[in-house]
């Protein structure tokens, strides 16, 4: 997955707008073949960075909106992400020659804290973050505090996502934050908390950088903090 953070680069004339819309629609269709065909057709007609930014990435944003509104579902998000990756791959050569920069959005370690076996919400957040262009290391549920630290060091993570679905395990989020401090990692690693009992107020209290209400918000907050 790739990320291009800027808006309509180079301006959008009518011909380009149509081109971008075709690419965007192909991603929203969640069909890899459609995306490949659209990229094939668009190649060389506008800079690769623009094709990705204003076409493919715009389509992926639309997929995110449709997911939030209950119109597209998790398999569709993954299919769209896979299709977009294929499209970006096809533009790699041109990206190099046009000087376009492409990179992962950031590295995120995601897990449910120790004592809490809930997995599904956290898995959806991991999937959405991955689909949005982050490198996600989902280390599962009921994760011992030290394992978060080890994985953060191993992957050189920029952010850690801490999930808890029970009031009794919420404290585990704070324990991870404390251990981050002890290991001298807190200034380097952003912390996002989530899960049913977590709130904005709790995020402030436990020393996290942000709280996300749902998977879509998790993506938005991660972008806010890391970009």
């Amino acid at each position: 997955m790739w990320f291009f953070p800027h808006g309509c680069k180079g301006g959008c004339n009518t011909a380009n707008e149509e081109l971008f819309k075709t690419l965007s629609d192909a991603v929203v269709s969640c069909k890899k073949d459609d995306v490949i065909a659209a990229v094939e057709k668009a190649k060389g007609k506008a800079p690769a960075v623009e094709l990705i930014d204003n076409g493919l990435a715009a389509g992926m944003n639309e997929v995110g909106v449709l997911f939030e509104r209950g119109k597209l579902f998790l398999p569709h998000v993954m299919m769209a992400a896979d299709a977009m990756s294929a499209g970006v791959e096809m533009l790699q050569d041109e990206l190099g020659s046009s000087g376009g920069a492409s990179s992962k959005l950031g590295v995120i370690v995601n897990g449910t804290v120790e004592g809490d076996v809930h997995d599904i919400g956290k898995a959806i957040v991991s999937t959405m973050l991955q689909a949005a262009g982050f490198e996600v290391h989902d280390i599962g549920r009921d994760v011992p505090v030290q394992n978060f630290i080890d994985k953060i060091k191993e992957t050189n993570a920029d952010m850690v996502g801490l999930s808890a679905l029970m009031t009794t395990t919420l404290q585990g989020q704070k324990e991870v934050i404390e251990l981050l401090k002890e290991n001298g990692l807190r200034d380097k690693v952003k912390v996002m908390v989530g899960g049913a009992p977590a709130t904005d107020a709790w995020a402030k209290k436990c020393g996290a950088d942000c709280y996300a209400e749902n998977a879509s918000e998790a993506v938005a907050k991660a972008k806010e903090l890391l970009l």
Partner: protein, 355 residues
């Protein structure tokens, strides 16, 4: 300076707002529900009534005489014995005593027996104990006593169950494998839920409460609706409540259907029609509380969704109200001011038949 009224954020924090700001938040919450569900928003009169409820001077409010509705308690049997770790009060008491206290002291109109794990799957190895407890409860109590548990399909996936975790498969882009796993878990869940309730019906259970249907997405709802259908067929007089987990059925699989209707993406007014078709007697609409919004916004949203479900339904709707749902703040013990206000609104404006 305009008078400000006390209300709360969705996380329970106390805040003060003017009437104009509260009304604007009610309207915004209603509009959000109307937009997402493609349903009517509340009328101006209904929003004004909600404003009156929120700004009422008393710490607690109640419905007008004649508007009372039946109330029941999920897992109330262990509410007395359980400690704060599971929303209880930590007074040693058996499940029978807990249920009888709810019947005779707290005025519960119906009750349910629930296992400490409160999911169907873990009941299987202790079914004999559940049967015995149900039988003793039935011998000692008058009000309808159901068995309650969560379908909780999450327990059927690795590492807790036999089927590969669709979350892991999905992240590896193994989409069809993930969908297959969800379908298999659903089919397994149907067998378990039906088997457990067959056993409990034998010892006199009055019925079943499927609690938090859809918590694991559309596979969870697929299993629950098919289990309801099978139970209705086998036990025509059995009482079945279909209570939801949230306002939207998450599409983990995306293509699962019940009776030709895709389950993913259904809102409460659409969910109720399928619950009814499957054979449920009552439906429990749910709207999750957004902790970053005010109780005015959350109540507006919750009542709008619930009202649409009540209007679409021909079976009674018993709204799920409590910690983090129905416009009530997300707190272990939700504050009584917020609980009573949300409850009054859901009865008087949404028109639910029970809570």
């Amino acid at each position: 300076m305009a008078t400000e009224y006390f209300l709360r954020m969705g996380d329970g924090q106390k805040i003060f707002m003017t009437k104009e700001d509260i009304l604007a938040d009610i309207a915004a919450g209603c509009a959000d529900a109307a937009d997402l569900g493609d349903i009517p928003t509340l009328s101006e009169d209904e929003m004004d009534h909600m404003l009156d409820i929120i700004t009422a001077p008393g710490r607690i409010v109640g419905v007008e005489p004649g508007m009372e509705v039946p109330v029941t308690h999920d897992i109330g049997a262990i509410r007395i014995d359980g400690d704060q770790g599971n929303s209880g009060v930590g007074i040693p008491a058996s499940r029978l005593v807990g249920s009888m206290i709810h019947e005779r002291a707290f005025g519960a109109d119906t009750m349910e027996l629930g296992h400490i794990d409160y999911s169907f799957k873990p009941v299987k190895p202790v079914i004999s104990q559940e049967q015995q407890t149900m039988e003793v409860c039935q011998q000692n109590m008058v009000i309808p006593m159901l068995y309650g548990a969560m379908p909780n399909m999450g327990l059927y996936y690795t590492p807790d169950g036999p089927f590969e975790n669709p979350g892991d498969l999905m992240k590896a882009f193994k989409i069809s494998e993930a969908q297959e796993s969800i379908q298999k878990a659903g089919d397994h869940g149907i067998r378990d839920m039906v088997w457990i309730m067959q056993k409990l019906q034998k010892v006199g259970s009055d019925g079943v409460n499927f609690d938090t249907i859809g918590a694991a997405g559309d596979g969870d709802m697929y299993a629950s609706l098919n289990a309801i259908e099978a139970l209705r067929k086998e036990f025509p007089g059995m009482y079945i409540n279909a209570g939801m987990a949230g306002e939207l059925v998450l599409g983990m699989h995306g293509d699962l259907e019940y009776d030709g209707t895709r389950l993913a993406g259904l809102w409460p007014h659409e969910q109720v029609l399928l619950a009814e078709k499957a054979g449920a007697n009552t439906f429990g609409p749910v709207c999750n509380t957004n902790t970053s919004k005010t109780s005015a916004w959350n109540m507006g949203r919750s009542v709008t969704f619930t009202k649409a479900a009540v209007e679409a339904s021909s079976i009674p709707c018993h709204a799920d109200m409590g910690m983090g749902v129905g416009g009530i703040p997300m707190l272990e013990t939700p504050p009584i001011d917020a609980v009573t206000r949300a409850s009054k609104a859901i009865v008087e404006i949404a028109g639910v038949d029970g809570i």
